[in-house]
Subunit: 306 residues, 2 copies
């Protein structure tokens, strides 16, 4: 039976560590608390919940935060102008624009408008470029959380076979980058041989690649895609998928991942549950990124004042 990778517990551990580090950084370095500003547009309940959870986590680790709420009728120009102001505001370390933005606003333009230094989501195209070049940068939170889960669980990756299922730009692609690249570079990547599978990978080929994988990271939003007969005994299974389904027995809604959890856990060596696996890590990594941004900005400011 697979060992459960308890993302909730690992994320809680990271938050305790961060709280201590931030406290020390403030007390010994004479720094103010790191500050995160979130921009929330419109009334989407899911977005509301996400932002609220992030702000709670911030408070928990000693990061001050503010949520700026705008109506869905905010213009792109107004939004970009506000981001520009936050970029220039020395009291703000991290800027988070909760996606999706309304259809009349260009999401890519918005992501690129956040200063690279304050881009705690890691979505600025320049930061993506730096990640793909293995350079020191703010890395998107979910891929970073997956990396952290793998490292803290001490799953071996060097020279191992990994399969990434799903090629999204926020999750699958950056995870493939962190899994395959050179561990000696800034991103502390994992030196695995990585196969990138996606919607156009034939099912029998997906199964074949998975069967020889030591690590599978799946991020598709297709419940039950990864089945027990696709798993090599002892493999590590990281499930980034999260889909709301109605339980046919109880009639209640529940969240499920891409993995047939009950069957796969009988074969795998490690497995993340959904919920409680990757999800909490994403929020913890946002806190980590905000602290990194605050430290970088404080150092830059000190250098400038010299």
């Amino acid at each position: 039976m697979a060992k459960l990778i308890d993302g909730k517990q690992i994320a809680a551990d990271i938050r305790v560590e961060l709280r201590d580090q931030i406290k020390e950084w403030m007390e010994q370095g004479g720094n103010r608390a790191p500050h995160l500003t979130a921009i929330l547009i419109g009334e989407d309940p899911a977005s509301n919940t996400y932002v609220s959870n992030k702000m709670k986590a911030a408070a928990d680790v000693g990061i001050t935060s503010k949520t700026e709420r705008y109506g869905a009728d905010i213009t792109e120009e107004q939004l970009l102008k506000r981001i520009e102001e936050l970029n220039d505001d020395d009291s703000v370390d991290g800027i988070l624009v909760q996606l999706p933005v309304p259809g009349h606003i260009n999401e890519r333009k918005v992501c690129n408008s956040v200063s690279c230094d304050k881009d705690v989501d890691g979505f600025n195209e320049r930061n993506i470029g730096r990640l793909c070049l293995d350079m020191n940068t703010l890395i998107p939170c979910t891929p970073l959380g997956v990396q952290e889960l793998i490292k803290r669980t001490e799953i071996e990756t060097f020279g191992k076979n990994a399969v990434v299922v799903g090629r999204s730009k926020n999750v699958g692609m950056p995870i493939a980058m962190l899994l395959h690249a050179d561990g000696r570079n800034d991103t502390c990547a994992m030196d695995a041989t990585v196969t990138m599978c996606h919607r156009f990978t034939p099912p029998e080929e997906l199964a074949r690649f998975c069967r020889t994988a030591d690590i599978i990271v799946t991020a598709t939003g297709v419940p039950g895609l990864i089945k027990a007969d696709m798993i090599k005994e002892g493999a590590a299974i990281i499930d980034v998928g999260i889909t709301r389904v109605t339980d046919p027995v109880t009639g209640k809604n529940k969240l499920v991942g891409d993995v047939d959890f009950e069957e796969v856990r009988k074969v795998a060596g490690h497995i993340t549950p959904v919920p409680g696996g990757v999800g909490p890590m994403t929020v913890a990594m946002l806190m980590k990124n905000t602290f990194i941004a605050a430290k970088n900005l404080a150092r830059k400011k000190a250098e400038k004042e010299k």
Copy 2:
């Protein structure tokens, strides 16, 4: 016996097409010839040859060019200042800094200093980010040449298995990006399932992945790495490797790729020779990028003047 992918001929065809397109763009659009400026630092004979070949190709397609030569003692500051001037110079469309630069100059800084619009090598980190996000951008010439070879040879990639051997940031990584990503996006990527192999992929695993690959792109600089018993019958083999070796029989120097050409061609469906495969494509793609840059800059200028 594999069909030879004649990169020299395909590159020549592309140059003819480009010459016609550039002529038409100048005559009908009232545009001046596209202009490429190359910066060559120091006395490295190989760099000298590369730049000289590029400039010959430019003249051939109707691109004007200039090579600026600097001693190996040029400072980083001087170089960056000169690039800045070229960025601002309306008579320059493409800027190429021949790599490597001397050790006292930060190569990454230099690549990033070239304006994204004139970055015909596609090495600016922002352009790399855009490539990895499947966005319209200037794509590094060798990966673009590999893509063009595959497309012009009508090798099927959609849902096929591809293996990329070598994870360099200038070649292997961007090729993996173009092979696996979504063909409906700006980069016209190829929708293959892609396995990224590298120096830490165990030899027996490399062989196993290659044996089920419909397409292998190798870019390692390890002669003879890819052998006939690693090839699926009918696979397409693109050899980006290029290494100078001494022939044990004749005692003469010659260029070889990563592939055991004579044996592999008996099994493969398509194969590129070395030299005369990917090499000429790289230069042709530099010309293509310069023309794209010129068109973009002319359009931007026209919009500004409106």
